[in-house]
Amino acid sequence: MKKITKSLSYRNLVKRPARSIALMLLAAFLSFSVFGGTIIVGSLRSGLSSLQDRLGADIMVVPYEAATKSDLENIVLQGNTGYFYMDSSYLKKLAAMEGIGQISAQFYLASASSGCCSIPVQIIGFDPETDFTISPWIKKSYNRPLQDMEIVVGNSLNAFVGDTLTFYGTDVHVAAKLDRTGTSLDTAVYTNENTIKTLIQASLDKKLNNFGDINPDKVISCVLINVAEGYTIEDVLNDINLHVRKVEAVQTKNMISGISGSLKGISDVIGILTAAIWILSLVIMIIAFRMSVNERKKEFAVLRVIGASGKKLFHIVLTEGILVSLSGSLIGIVVGALVILPFGNFIEAQLGLPFLLPGGLKVAGLACISLVASVTAGSFTGALASYKISRMDTGLILREGN
């Protein structure tokens, strides 16, 4: 004969649908808050880490005006378009300084318009011979040297491999599309030094460049530096700022410290909200289970009379707790996935911070952890009520109300 204990727990839940749904919703809140919270905080952290990786240099040297006008942060961190130039001789000067490990120049240009995008895009040029920041990243998507008039597009741009885009009347071909970084770099276009010089010249020819009197062959936008072993970033940074005029050396770590601060603030808020939801939900669940058990005291006494041990009663109520919290938690995770995963771009736009959703495996792992956490918490509230009912005075309850 089939044991009735499990089906009794299930039937108890079905018999009282309003209470069961309310408990399931509370369990759903628990898992939703953990799953959603960890996904958002995790995505922000991944975004920041991705940004750090993409910046990939200890120091950026830019024209003094660019640093003071915050042009640099606007381009690198906020995803705004912009460009600035300094004389290419700075590269040689900086390369000759003490403590320089890796060094490479970059070139910036903003497109006026293009087929891929409704807004101007940032074009970033790099020297394939010396580059150490963009090339390793591009290699993940495109394992060949970038030819002249070829570009690589950021993941968020509406352009695909094989497309031809036109910047300032000059056609360039999309050779690869990069992996998503969750940062402003997803909306940029990357190309080699020769191509960007051609594009800068085209912008000058069309009189669409704010720097009307520059020679593309003699300018660079910034210099990226990795400090050599045995030197500190601060020492090299101070040395540059002290000895090289009209430029500003900026520590990349400091550039993203503002983002780190915002991320910490958001993480704290999410943490506090999650804790509040948990405390509130757990208290309500404890009360609801307690009320439900009190309401059925006589039934439990009857089960005791016909031979259910205290342990069996404990299992019946605990099973109810597990069933309700398991189903509620699954709902919470599914809702969390449906609400957060498809709207990564929207959340990124709202928060104004790099936002890189974790991969499928990590999301599955987080879902499992959230499920276990909320089922454990939900079961704990059931266990509290079970403990009480397993220790009740059966004789006294049988006589109550008679």
Binding site: G310, G395, L398, G401
Partner: protein, 224 residues
């Protein structure tokens, strides 16, 4: 199997009436023989139900022991005692005692399905429902039954496992004369089949069916 109580007593702590200790059952020896319908009468609050709960393994006495065969009931741990209660005892509690998430037949079969051991005798369950006059309600939920029907369902549930001892706490309280007679006859027949039956009641109708009568007054049990 004979159920025996040796020197059992039960006292409760009561802080509202002058003295702290209330003696619900004074030191009592008792024997519930198989094959007999024993009726225990007494006024409300006389200690009848407390005594019944002690005998049925639901309430540990303050002193004394309860023996079922050669087993001392309160020497067993809760799980063993509960299994023994499930296997050997049938209990008809006071008042309504349905499990509301189960239908009438499932309620009746509950003692047999609680541990999922052996075969549940559905035919016998139907037979009991027939005897109780509620066979047509087998698939109904308890909320659809009247108080009397629920009581009859509880009686069928107590008997379905063919227990060796049946405890009945005011089993005819909600029943009309006709059903009262049916229930009392059934308990009598159960006793005649070799079961030890203890019927706690304050109704005189039961006395006519009794093989032995006890009265409890102020926690003191005496044979009538």
């Amino acid at each position: 199997m004979v159920l025996k109580a040796e020197g059992v007593s039960k006292q409760f702590l009561r802080e509202t009436k002058g003295t702290n200790i209330f003696m619900a059952v004074k030191e009592t020896d008792f024997e519930l023989p198989e094959g007999m319908l024993t009726v225990l009468t007494g006024r409300s609050g006389s200690g009848k139900s407390t005594f019944l709960n002690i005998l049925s393994g639901l309430l540990e006495p303050t002193a004394g022991k309860v023996l079922i065969g050669d087993k001392e009931l309160y020497q067993l741990d809760d799980t063993e005692r509960s299994r023994l209660r499930n296997r050997l005892f049938g209990f008809i509690p006071q008042g309504q005692s349905a499990i509301h998430s189960l239908n009438v037949l499932e309620n009746v079969l509950l003692p047999l399905t609680l541990y999922g051991e052996g075969e549940a005798d559905q035919e016998y369950a139907y037979e009991l429902l027939e005897l109780m006059g509620i066979a047509e309600l087998a698939g109904s939920m308890p909320s659809e039954l009247s108080g009397g029907e629920l009581r009859r369902m509880a009686i069928a549930r107590a008997l379905v496992g063919k227990p060796e001892v049946v405890f009945a706490d005011e089993p005819t309280g909600d029943l009309d004369d006709e059903n009262t007679e049916i229930v009392l006859k059934l308990l009598k027949q159960t006793a005649e089949r070799g079961t030890a039956v203890l019927l706690v009641t304050h109704e005189n109708d039961a006395l006519a069916y009794a093989d032995a009568i006890y009265r409890m007054s102020g926690g003191v049990l005496e044979k009538v």
